[in-house]
Amino acid sequence: MVLADSTAPATAGRVPARQPYRDPTRANRARALQNTRTWARLALFTVALLVAFGSLSTLIDGVVWWIASALTIVLPVLAIGIATQLGRRSWQPFVAGFGVAVVSLTFGYARDAALFGIIPTFDTLGRWGELVNAGILSITTQRIPAEATEGILFLLAILAVVSVVFIAPALDRVPAVAALPLLVVLDIPVAVRAGIAEPHWFVFVVIAYLALLRIGRRRMPLTSVLGTAAVVVVGSLLLPAAFPPAREVVNDANTGVGTGLNPLIDLGDDLRRDDTVTAVTYVTDAPGGLYLRLATLDEFNGINWEPDSSTDPDNDVAEFPPPDGLTDEVPRAAYSATIQVGDVGGRWLPLPYPATSVQGLEGDWRWEPDGLAVRSSGADARGQEYDVTFLDIQPDLAQLTADLEPDVPSRYLALPNEMPEVIAQTAEQVAGTGSTYQKAIALQEFFTSGDFDYSVDAPVDEGYDGTGVGVIERFLEVRSGYCVHFASAMAVMARTVGIPSRIVVGFQPGEAEDIDGVPGFTVSSADLHAWPELYFEGIGWLRFEPTPGRGSFPDYSSIEAIDDPTTPEFEGVNPSAVPVDPSPAAPNLPDEETVVDGTITVEEQNPAPIITAIAVFALALLLTPAGVRVLVRLRRMRRVRAGDAAAAWAEIRDTAHDHDWVAPDSETPRQLGTRLAIVVGHEPVARLQDGVESAAYDRPGSLTMTVDDVAELRHAIASAAPLGVRLRATFLPPSLMARAGFGSKPPPVE
């Protein structure tokens, strides 16, 4: 026998039967494939989540918030992916994602309250709590679209982090769970206001989600894909129905006045509302009522007036700078007032102009250097009570007509490049060729002399509500509108004739009334008002009142005794608060207390939807295991009724597993039954075991089991376990975790 001849074929012949070792290259390929799939799932999940967050753009202004959210999504996802690839234990990706999420939340939002900027401490937690409160507050007080304050950013970051950290590690086992955060995020706009959500976001998210489901399951039948798509779409449409409390809260919150980032935007809505609330009460030693300013809007982009955003972060409201442009020669009187803010939520503090000091505020308030408006990034004006000292500027005619060249930043004179000709033409015609002051008075008179009607509804009905140049063009034609239109038109026209201008949003003086026995004023939400301020070199900013029937003319505007006998002696002296109607042409003008129909609703953004969404999300996360377990059980019981003993046994095995029994699937019914019988008694086990054995392994048509048998044994197993174990069995069933693969790392594919 020749060795070479005999061994070679023998070896060759054995190879197929033997498979002595795992083929290392094959194992590597399988691992590589697994890793590729993991990354693909994570990538699709990330894309879907980013798109879902994109759908919030209907609620939040700008893109910075989205980029910030994207960072808090991408970083934990990367960590989870790397940990999945390198780690051996199933908890490692979760821990990695959680760690990175905590570090990024710390670094991004509480850097200075953390060790080395990244290690959270108790201070960090405190800061986070503040941010959450601030976020909720700024959602409460802002209108759609809201400015992305740090608090809102933080809330979004939490939503992002929770979505990623709890869902991404499970994607390999249960890709379908990706739907949970996606639906929650997508439904926030739906919950805030029906009809605001934009469908294309849904479409993109659903596409990414379906692609995610398809990874590694190329043979998924089309019906499944369509079925899933249908479930996702229908589910996303139905989910908003789970938000009734949020909607109720939205309605409740309509009682207050919100002053968001730009109070001008919703001013019309607030004027049209049918339920007025007390906005401010104040007592002052000044002779008459006060115009209380909220925000100064000096940047006009052709469509909107925007507030100056250059807040000096380090100033103190106890001492204000001298007002812009005011020289020492101008006569003035100093007064003080005690102001109590009522139901006005928001970041703007009602103050007279120019204030010199504010005392007694709670929270962090800063003055704006140009307009001297006071705002806060975290605190709320609602309920504040404070003392303010302010000046009453009383320029004389010589000063007013000095006609000095204005020395102001160019934005006070900026106009859009494309403006309807009619605005400048009208302005020049109206203003004439006098001094700056005469031009301003002429413009004010142009609006108040009777040619213009005051109406909060006409612009809406006619479709030209707003402040843009197109609106002004229409307004000059229709000659009907409310304070926003008058203020914007006068401010723009003033700029066309070279007078620096800006718009102020605030309250007209209100109604004289005793406040705690002291004569004072009560300002209601219907007193919300907007007016222009024009700049005079050497004097500064002066208020004008172009709106007919609202507020009062300032003293200086009647210095020349321009033919207006109704001019009050001092601004705001308007004891009845029912303004003299200077417009006989419009006897039926609605005033500020107009009751309007409900077609235009007050759109106040409320924190409830996002809070509710997060709460629902958390609750859903919490209850998901229990729910899935119940579903699994119901499905099995249905099959038990149909005679499927395997389902019965699987249920018993999982029940045992849930109650701390080690019940591997490599155990036969008899083996587990023997062990169970020791604790729960021989009788129920034996019956079920016989049933299972016969049904599973005997000839078809043999004895089967009943649902009652299973229920009895389930009960026996559960009642033998301590309460803690039973609770865990209900809410965090280990059998489900094992099924989802959390118990151990799944074997490589193939």
């Binding site: 054995r14 039967a17 033997r18 498979q19 002595p20 070792y21 795992r22 699994v632 499905r635 099995r636 099959r639 499927d644 003993a645 395997a646 389902a647 046994w649 699987a650 249920e651 591997p664 699937d665 490599s666 155990e667 036969t668 019914p669 008899r670 083996q671 299972v692 054995e693 016969s694 049904a695 599973a696 392994y697 005997d698 000839r699």
Partner: protein, 349 residues
């Protein structure tokens, strides 16, 4: 009865299957089967004390029409068990003591020229018996071993071109010494594969050993052992075992275990398809011995080590000595413990 006697030798040249002749007789009931099977086990227990599970496995193999390999150190009663099993059934038994000079013809029989008849006449060897006890099978040369092993698999003997069917049932109970010794030829894996099960006797516990001391003083208990079942009855019992139902789930389970042995890291050679077949067959016998007419995964579990372990080759140690054998049993147990048990046709939910 001589250990070397040849009785009931099937001398016919045709390969007629004995079982077909038994078909018309009425099958026995489960109760009758159990009664007889327990009688056999009880009879053997009078000889071998305290080895219930070993005895049951041996009876299982007998009823499953398999061959049994008993591997253990000398003096623990391997041959005694084999003889007791053979004796409890009223059938032909032969015993072959394997030695290095044993020739194939000493087993199968020879054709002798009959001068009176002027033709060759076949003289059946000791293999022509219902139960063949092969003592120390690894002492014989590979050539001789293979002669026996061929007859085990084919259940017939071919001498000089003529085939002679072996009697039905036909069971070989072989013993071998696991310790490497001079002059032994370890059975190649292909031949070990022919044995349905390998069992180790193990040392008796102290009480059993003490009891043995007393009983052996008064003569061999084997002499007092009388057959408890007839050959006809044994055939019917075999038929009963054949009729035991194996559900697809159990088949799937057996296949899964076999497949797992083929991919296990610690094994160089896994279980063959024949091993799977014999595992299921043995499980049927065990189920019948348990009074069932269907196989449970528990039967597979219980028999996996005896039926599979001796066919496996570990990947690390080249020797399959005593240590190797125990290691293989452990590996087999581990594989069984890790293989999910399918539940019914629908599988696990």
């Amino acid at each position: 009865m001589s250990d070397y006697s040849v009785a009931n030798a099937g001398g016919s040249g045709t390969g007629t299957h004995a079982n077909s002749e038994q078909a018309p007789t009425a099958p026995i009931s489960t109760a009758e089967f159990l009664l007889d099977a327990r009688a056999v086990i009880a009879a053997i227990e009078t000889v071998i004390d305290g080895k219930r599970s070993v005895i049951e496995t041996a009876v299982t193999v007998l009823l499953a029409e398999g061959h049994l390999l008993m591997e253990d150190v000398p003096g623990v009663g391997k041959t005694m068990l084999a003889r007791a099993l053979a004796r409890s059934v009223d059938c032909s038994v032969s015993r072959i003591q394997f030695t290095p000079d044993l020739l194939p013809a000493d087993i199968t029989g020879v054709s002798i020229y009959n001068q009176a008849e002027r033709e060759f006449e076949f003289k059946p060897g000791p293999v022509f018996a219902n139960i063949v006890i092969g003592d120390e099978i690894n002492r014989a040369s590979p050539k001789t071993q293979s002669a026996l092993l061929e007859s085990m698999e084919e259940r017939q003997v071919t001498v000089d071109g003529a085939s002679y069917a072996l009697p039905e049932p036909f069971t070989v109970i072989a013993t071998q010494n696991p310790i490497e010794m001079e002059g032994t030829y370890a059975l190649p894996e292909a031949q070990r594969d022919r044995f349905m099960a390998r069992i180790s006797m193990g040392y008796p516990d102290q009480a059993a050993e003490a009891a043995m001391l007393r009983t052996r003083e008064t003569g061999s208990p084997l002499d007092r052992l009388a057959p408890v079942v007839t050959l006809d009855r044994l055939r019917k019992m075999v038929d009963t075992v054949r009729a035991v139902f194996v559900s697809p789930a159990v088949e799937q389970y057996a296949v899964a275990i076999a497949a797992a042995t083929r991919t296990d890291r610690e094994l160089r050679l896994g279980a063959s398809p024949r091993a799977t077949l014999q595992l299921v067959r043995a499980s049927k016998a065990r189920a019948a011995l348990d009074g069932r007419d269907f196989v449970l995964p528990d039967d597979i579990d219980a028999l996996a080590v005896p039926v599979l372990a001796h066919r496996l080759i570990p990947s690390r140690s080249s020797a399959s000595g005593a240590l190797g054998g125990e290691a293989l049993a452990d590996i087999t147990s581990r594989i069984v413990a890790a293989t999910p048990v399918p539940l019914g046709a629908s599988g696990a939910v």
